[in-house]
Symmetry: C2
Subunit: 213 residues, 2 copies
Amino acid sequence: MARSAAKTPAASADAGADTADAAAGKPERSGRLSAEDWAQAALDLIAEQGVAAVAVEPLARRLGVTKGSFYWHFPSREALLQAALERWENVEQEAVFGTLEQVPDPRERLRALFQMVAHEYQSHVIYSALLKALDHPAVQPVIDRVSKRRLDYLAASFRQAGLAREDALHRARLTYAAYVGFLQLNLQLHQARMPQEEFEAYVEHLAKTLVPA
Amino acid sequence: MARSAAKTPAASADAGADTADAAAGKPERSGRLSAEDWAQAALDLIAEQGVAAVAVEPLARRLGVTKGSFYWHFPSREALLQAALERWENVEQEAVFGTLEQVPDPRERLRALFQMVAHEYQSHVIYSALLKALDHPAVQPVIDRVSKRRLDYLAASFRQAGLAREDALHRARLTYAAYVGFLQLNLQLHQARMPQEEFEAYVEHLAKTLVPA
DNA sequence: ACCTGAACACCGTTCAAGT
DNA sequence: ACCTGAACACCGTTCAAGT
């Protein structure tokens, strides 16, 4: 569900004739396919069924072409995965951190971050799928890069919140590891693992324990 | 490397003639194979190369038989994975928590737990490999069970260390999530991600932040 | 009781040929 | 510029036949 294509750089230059990108849930592309179409289809599959589901033949079936045509766009399944992940990495940037620049007080900002991360389901779907597939060689470097960026942001915030340089870095590591472990253990809401009330209490505990007073 | 077979229930009853289980690194089994041999070989592979590497044909090659013979022992690759993971789950129990019963003071015990987890590389190898493969349907339930057990242990320890029932549960969640995220992000030592000194400081920060004073 | 060998299905990959 | 169709390799699975 939920096509995440929305804010894509869209068409590159020419491209045949895309008569208003359809109306149904499934894109139902009329003309021929571009590499971007394949990458987006792969991303959708990752969100829906995980990285392992990204297979050339099923994807081709889904797109209504033969698998042979895939190899005009990409040299391998691995290359498709990489393109899909790159696509995601580019979009991912603003998703969480962009909205936070508005909150001036660093402690408030950290609390807001906790709340946002806790209650914004959609933005973790792909990241969570990737975490469950670190097995795949294409995934690890992407997660590494994204994690590094977020960790730096967190460390800076803790620094601004008054922690010493070293402590800020450590606290950022702890906080981010807790986030990753949280996704990993499927403690999320919407996964029916925890009642709403207890979940809120947990988030409060996090803020109390991790955000400097 | 590192055959983890050491403390296996060993042979079931009869079994052909195992003339002292060899001396080389690779078991080099002479007679015919049992289901346990396949499961152990699968576990070894998981530790060395991850869950994805557990494939029937390569395993058969490694064991010096044809892949057809595998299906006398297991109905499917999935069943082999499950048997291997069950084997691990049984052995895993004592590994970390057994040694801790000796420390009486709960706060001291928690600190000792942090230190042990931080410096005992071997015991996380399989768990970490499984975390990277939650994609595979056989893996998730095992991780869920093991995690639940450890979480309960942690919660009890925090309770004994003086936290209120609710707080103890939340702190256990936070702590365990941090552990999982830590493995996930490859922050471990031996992975050359952090210099020794910084690593020790991080562990200290964890204890200071998470263990009640 | 355990293994071989041949068979088939499914998916990744290649490539000559089509439009 | 993009796609089809047939081919091959590799791995999962089945099964009749061997020891």
